[in-house]
């Protein structure tokens, strides 16, 4: 399987007035194409910080002292780490982060997107949700919007009738449709056609009517050349007044795309929802909007940070079912962060366990749950109350203070199996069978 993202030995500290917090202490993680990777951990484990780092959203006091995040064969945090750097210089760090931000503009939001925990704060309360989804496409992939409009502009009613006959043929219409559209230079039309055709709440006659109506869209003559330019270059128009005019056209198109994606996310009445504001929607709906924004640019990696924690149990169930069903539609890879292992079991393929800024165990979800190897993972599983269990055993001690981490293995003060070596050396990650990895000296001898 292809590796889509690799985090190598990432070390990150937060410099604050109250001390230096060692948030990430040598994180190693791999994400493969098309998988859902669950990341579990409690507070202080560094899971949220890791998401910020990958998503390019680090605050100005984040000091990266070691490591790489490799995406598309490039280390995307190269600017932040200087060889032999031992002192934190505020201005230098801020400058490096600023440079990093600029570099990541093209990646963040389009190739790597993030969905946060609380949709109420992640969404802008004064903008319609349709606008916010449209904006996400407008800023990263305006060519998609431009092409859609141009495709409708160029298409004739005859074209649409031919398309309808392809669709009605039932076998293999996907391929034939694409071939036809490519032949006629109508890229951008296929997703609009398929969206209508694959709806199950419309009568066939209405579908035909809608598809026919796609043809011959009226586009203001002055806008045309700019739309063509944008469709080709995927860059926004910058000239002052004109750009507003073009933006309005493209955003309107974005609303249409928003309706499509909300429908896929099983939002009822998406045509009405796009004109609503976040506070008019319930928690589950808002989270779907946030997920829509995260998915709409077909990113390679979607980071989800506790997306269901703030939701009711029944709503959480709906969202989890949704995530499971759409992963097949999108070829993206997902990283799903949660403190709730049972939630991760539902959605993930593999699960990584983090503790005090390190990944301590990683493996397939079944292996982790039925054959946990790391003492922390074992304690964690025993401490979770479930409907079945009669007894829960808490983990003795407390999560370590990130300003003052223990020497050697971070978990050794609380570990029932701690050995002498654990107090002095940090265990490396041992590769066991089935892709199961553990960072614990207990597994050192076996090779």
């Amino acid at each position: 399987m292809d590796k889509v993202l690799e985090v190598k030995d990432l070390e990150l500290k937060f410099v604050t007035r109250r001390g230096v917090f060692h948030a990430l202490n040598g994180v190693n993680l791999e994400l493969y194409k098309g998988e859902v990777l669950g990341v579990a951990g409690e507070s202080g484990s560094g899971k949220s910080t890791l998401m910020l780092a990958i998503g390019g959203l680090l605050p100005s006091n984040a000091w990266v002292t070691r490591g790489e995040i490799v995406y598309m064969s490039k280390n995307i945090i190269q600017e932040l780490v200087k060889e032999g750097d031992t002192k934190y210089v505020k201005k230098r760090n801020e400058k490096a982060l600023k440079k990093l931000n600029e570099k990541l503009q093209s990646i963040r939001g389009s190739k790597i997107s993030t969905v946060f925990q609380d949709p109420m704060t992640a969404l802008n309360p004064v903008l319609q949700v349709g606008y916010q989804i449209a904006e996400a496409v407008y800023y990263h992939n305006p060519s998609v919007l431009a092409r859609r409009i141009l495709a409708r502009y160029k298409a004739t009613k005859d074209d649409m009738r031919e398309i309808l006959s392809i669709l009605k043929n039932k076998e293999d219409y996907n391929e034939k449709l694409l071939k036809f559209i490519k032949g006629k230079n109508l890229e951008g039309l296929e997703e609009q056609v398929l969206f209508i055709w694959e709806r199950n709440d419309l009568h066939d006659i209405k579908k035909e009517k809608l598809i026919l109506s796609l043809a011959g869209e009226k586009v203001p003559r002055t806008a045309l050349p700019f739309l063509y330019k944008i469709a080709r270059s995927n860059k926004l128009e910058r000239t002052p007044i004109l750009s507003r005019f073009i933006k309005r056209i493209l955003i309107k198109e974005g609303y249409r795309k928003a309706v499509e994606i909300l429908s896929i996310l099983k939002v009822p009445n998406p045509e009405k929802v796009v004109y609503m504001y976040p506070h008019e929607l319930s928690g589950g709906m808002r989270q779907r909007v946030a997920i829509a924004i995260g998915l709409i640019n077909n990113p390679e990696i979607v980071l989800l940070d506790e997306p269901t924690t703030a939701l009711d149990v029944t709503v959480q169930a709906q969202v989890l079912d949704l995530v499971r069903s759409i992963r097949n539609k999108y070829s993206s890879s997902f990283i799903f962060v949660s403190h709730d292992l049972s939630v991760l079991y539902e959605v993930s393929d593999r699960i990584a366990i983090m503790y005090a800024g390190k990944v301590v165990e990683v493996g397939s979800k079944d292996e982790i749950v039925s054959k946990p190897l790391h003492p922390y993972t074992q304690s964690l599983l025993r401490a979770v109350p479930s409907i079945e269990s009669e007894k829960i055993s808490p983990i003795p001690g407390e999560v370590p203070d990130l300003r003052n981490l223990p020497k050697g293995c971070m978990f050794h003060p609380r570990c029932p199996y701690a050995m002498d070596i654990c107090k002095n050396q940090e265990p490396p990650m041992y590769n066991l069978e089935n892709g199961h990895k553990v960072a614990c000296f207990l597994y050192g001898e076996k090779k």
């Binding site: 419309l202 009711d312 029944t314 959480q316 964690l380 401490a383 979770v384 409907i387 079945e388 808490p394």
Partner: protein, 429 residues
Amino acid sequence: MMIAGYNITKQYVSGGMFSTNKAVVKAVQGVNIKIKEKETVGLVGESGSGKTTLARLLIGLEEVTEGTILFNISDGELNEYEEALKKGDEGVIKRIEGMYDITKIPRSRLRKLRRYMSIVFQDPYSSLDPRMTVIDIIKEPMIATGYLSGEEANKRVLELLEKVGLPKWFAYRYPHELSGGQRQRVAIARALSTNPKFIALDEPTSALDVSTQAQILNLLKSLQRDEGLSYLLITHNISVASYLSDRMYVMYAGKLVEVGEREQVIKNPKHPYTIVLMSAVPKLGKIMQRVPVKGEPPNLVNLPTGCHFHPRCPYAFEYCGWNAVEVAEDLKYLLEGKYYDIGGEKIKVDVLSELKIRVEGLGYQDLEKIIKNEIEAVMSFKSIDSIKKESENAVSIELKEYITPKLYQLDDGRLVSCLLYDEKFINRK
């Protein structure tokens, strides 16, 4: 009996004295609840269920709109009271309420009762006054109720710190110097300070990490054993409820839907909502076949008619609460979508009353066909009683009158608020 609540109802009217747009929020409706001594009652529900409001009413933090809450009453007198309720014996009712009903006794007496009840809140960060030291926080209830004061109070604080597993020198720290788990222990120590008999636990571990949660849950369990306490545990986390509760009360949209022993309610739920709830909980190691449910918990100002759960219930049938607005909406959706060819936008659907609809532009036969085809998928159509041809162009639809479910008692002692368990409909299951 620690607490016996009858017909507890709480409504909020939003808007102050000068506002014109007042909405009535029905937070809790007609709840009966009993909490015995030394037992843990788990009160579960999602947002809008009313569980937090109910807890606040039971502990006297807010005033009921209606209802009786008897606190710390002997079993004998409770029986007397219930007999008097059945017979309508005003004298006995007034006497007993005068002694035990926290909604009716004078405030001075209520304050004395405060000694026996306390609460632990969800958020350890905001449930402690940031400007008070730990020792002052724990002492406050003792001093306010006159239980202990001065040196004796200070000594007891040290005892309590030990009981909850905190070192003695924490006494002079401030809340912001402690971790979440430590703060929650302080909150528990405070709750124990006056030697209460009853503690309300409002999501006591929801804001804590897994490992801390386990510690606190075990602490609560052992304290109950050692001190002989009654707990009312309010939570949306079924696993936590399952770990601590003896009996469970499940609430939805302000009403009780199921009441029973923990094993029964969790392993063998009977109310459709409870079934949906239990199946929605993610379980480690299993990917369950979920009982599907659509939609979200309702808005408490505009509650569904009849059974509040009926719009989402996978087992709803014709009497569950469907009204004309719901049927009309479903019909309109079909006419604009799947059945577009029959007339499309030209058809008008009007709601005439709660149970009557008038359709213009659609023929009788066509309407009959639609209903017949869709009745399995569209649940609201099940409530259609009859369709009549009014004129050339118009058809009227009349719905069956819905029944609001009561709490029905099952053979195993449970209470379920679902028409499926009403004797009239027993055969529907």
